[in-house]
Amino acid sequence: MALTREEVRRIASLARLELEPEEEVRMAEQLSAILDYVRQLEALDVSAVEPMTHALAEGSAPLREDEVAPSLDPEVALGNAPARAGTCFKVPRIIE
């Protein structure tokens, strides 16, 4: 199954990836090859099979009490911030 450049562009946009034009071409080829390969799963009848949605041996994650506990100090949490304003992460303006 061949993916078109338009589909690659649509997926890249969903994934917030800005690809170069030559990357789009290569991506279309490589993804098409991989999708061709995974299509062999269609040979299996899975209509009566439950999906394995997690890998927990216990069957489900245990619940814990919802208690207040210490978390990272704001100064520490901001330590790697590319840009900050006070105790906030600074981003480009999103509302005009």
């Binding site: 994934a15 490589q30 991989i34 790697n80 981003v91």
Partner: protein, 487 residues
């Protein structure tokens, strides 16, 4: 002093207990070994020499006071660069995290240090653990200590190479589709992917959360058991970590192979396995039989679908996990223009080709109209693969076969063809999909290439002890592989 570096963890620990060596001597020897050899191997992304020497000094002082914490106290080790280490740059092999200095330690690192281990630094890996050769590292490719023209495997290639090259006595890696076992087999060391949930993933940079698991690499089975014992166990900060108690993995390790029923999947030694690999694996199985185990033929009919299911499930989870690299809170941030521009440019410049490919694949598999056909179907096939193992374990105690269809391949051999690279994971992926423990043990050398071959042992959930016992019986019989000649 280099004689020290050939010792196992257990032997070094004994020497330190008898005051015949100090942690400082071992740590200095390891640091100079890294300095001498790493230009060729490329196993390290960061060396924390001062911090290591300080930890060694503290360990020697504890010993002088009679307060030794564990057999790992004072032992130089290192961890894959996917583990957060407070104060030491952590990149997961990616440009998008260049310069990132974590504010806290991963639980596994915290536990290693609590046991007294000396952490020398951070080990090279494929970017975000995506790859099978350590060529996808954004910083430098890793090389195999047995043959520098070949890859050490991946994604934990730095971990395997550092242990094989005697730079450290043991290491931690992570395994999502074979990333501990395959490099262990390529580099002639012992590597274990524990049962999903056995080791906390807290502070481990996430790739595919339902598959990722932390595990040890070491030069002996006993050392791997020791390392697992130190890091395993429940962690309230990882809700997928199991509350089951951690057994003493060394207790039954000398129990021998007698009486064990070893399942040999008929699908695993069919076409596609290199003759030299097949011979070494068959000899390993024969040795187990000679030691008193019985070989039982089992069938894992859905193994052939594992790679296809994996390359939908893992990228789907990755596309979600890697959404956090957006240039807002940490890592690379390419500013200018709108918020949307910042996201797109940061991610385009920060991610290498393999993470981009997987993000794209995962986004596609999860997107409207395709979810049922791809992702949901893959999860159902995952159930079938798990059932295959459940059925096999009705007639055997462990399953054995090859780790990889080939020995270490050459740098550049597969980078141009991602699908070929993926297909090399055919024997390791089923274990991750089924959430089972899998161990790679050196089982001889490929006669033509003089490269190590790994035998894979897969166990029941949380039955790592049986894997250690069988592997130890084989190790006693086969002896260690010859030391690497590349460095």
């Amino acid at each position: 002093m280099s004689g020290l570096l050939d010792l196992s963890i257990a032997e070094l620990s004994g020497k330190m207990a008898r005051r015949e060596a100090s942690s400082r001597e071992a740590t200095e020897a390891a640091l100079s070994r890294v300095k001498e050899t790493d230009g060729k191997i490329g196993a390290f992304l960061a060396v924390a020499a001062e911090r290591a020497l300080e930890a060694a000094r503290a360990s020697d002082e504890r010993r002088a006071r009679g307060e030794v914490r564990s057999p790992l106290d004072g032992v130089p080790v290192a961890v894959k660069d996917i583990f957060l280490t407070r104060g030491i740059e952590t990149t997961a092999g990616s440009r998008i995290l260049q310069g990132f200095v974590p504010p806290y330690d991963a639980t596994a690192v915290e536990r290693l240090e609590r046991a007294g281990a000396v952490v020398l630094g951070k080990l090279n890996m494929d970017e975000f653990a995506m790859g099978s050769s350590t060529e996808n590292s954004a910083y430098k490719p890793g090389r195999n200590p047995y043959d520098l023209s070949r890859t050490p495997g991946g994604s934990s290639g730095g971990s395997a190479a550092a242990v094989a090259a005697r730079q450290v006595f043991g290491a931690l890696g992570t395994d999502t589709g074979g990333s501990i076992r395959q490099p262990a087999s390529f580099c002639g060391v012992v590597g274990l992917k524990p049962t999903y949930g056995r080791v906390s993933r807290y502070g481990v940079i996430a790739f595919a959360s339902s598959l990722d698991q932390v595990g040890p690499l070491a030069r002996t089975v006993g050392d791997a058991a020791l390392l697992l014992g130190a890091v395993a166990g429940h962690d309230p900060r990882d809700m997928t970590s199991s509350p089951r108690p951690v057994p003493d993995y060394l207790a039954g390790i000398e129990g021998g192979a007698r009486g064990l029923r070893v399942g040999v999947p008929r699908e695993w030694l069919q076409s596609g396995v290199e003759p030299g690999v097949e011979r070494a694996v068959r000899e390993g199985l024969e040795t187990l039989r000679r030691l008193g185990a019985s070989l039982v033929e089992v069938s894992l009919p859905h193994t052939r679908y594992a790679v296809a299911a994996y390359y939908l499930i893992a990228p789907a989870e990755a596309s979600s996990n890697l959404a956090r690299y957006d240039g807002v809170r940490f890592g690379l941030s390419v500013r200018g223009g709108s918020l949307r521009d910042m996201y797109g440019r940061t991610r385009d410049r920060g991610f290498g080709p393999e993470p981009k490919r997987r993000i794209m694949l995962g986004t596609y598999a999860l997107s409207a109209g395709y979810y049922d056909a791809y992702y949901l179907r893959a999860q159902k096939v995952r159930t079938l693969i798990r059932r295959d193992f459940d059925r096999a374990f009705e007639s055997c105690d462990l399953v054995a076969g090859p780790v990889s269809p080939t020995v270490a391949f050459r740098l550049g051999e597969k980078v141009g063809d991602p699908l070929q690279m993926y297909l090399a994971d055919i024997f390791t992926i089923p274990c991750n999909l089924a959430a089972l423990p899998g161990l790679s043990l050196p089982c001889g050398m490929h006669p033509g290439e003089r490269l190590p071959v790994g035998l894979q042992l897969v166990g029941r959930p949380f039955d790592e002890a049986t894997l250690f016992r069988a592997a130890r019986a084989l190790e006693r019989e086969l002896g260690p592989p010859p030391p690497p000649r590349g460095v």
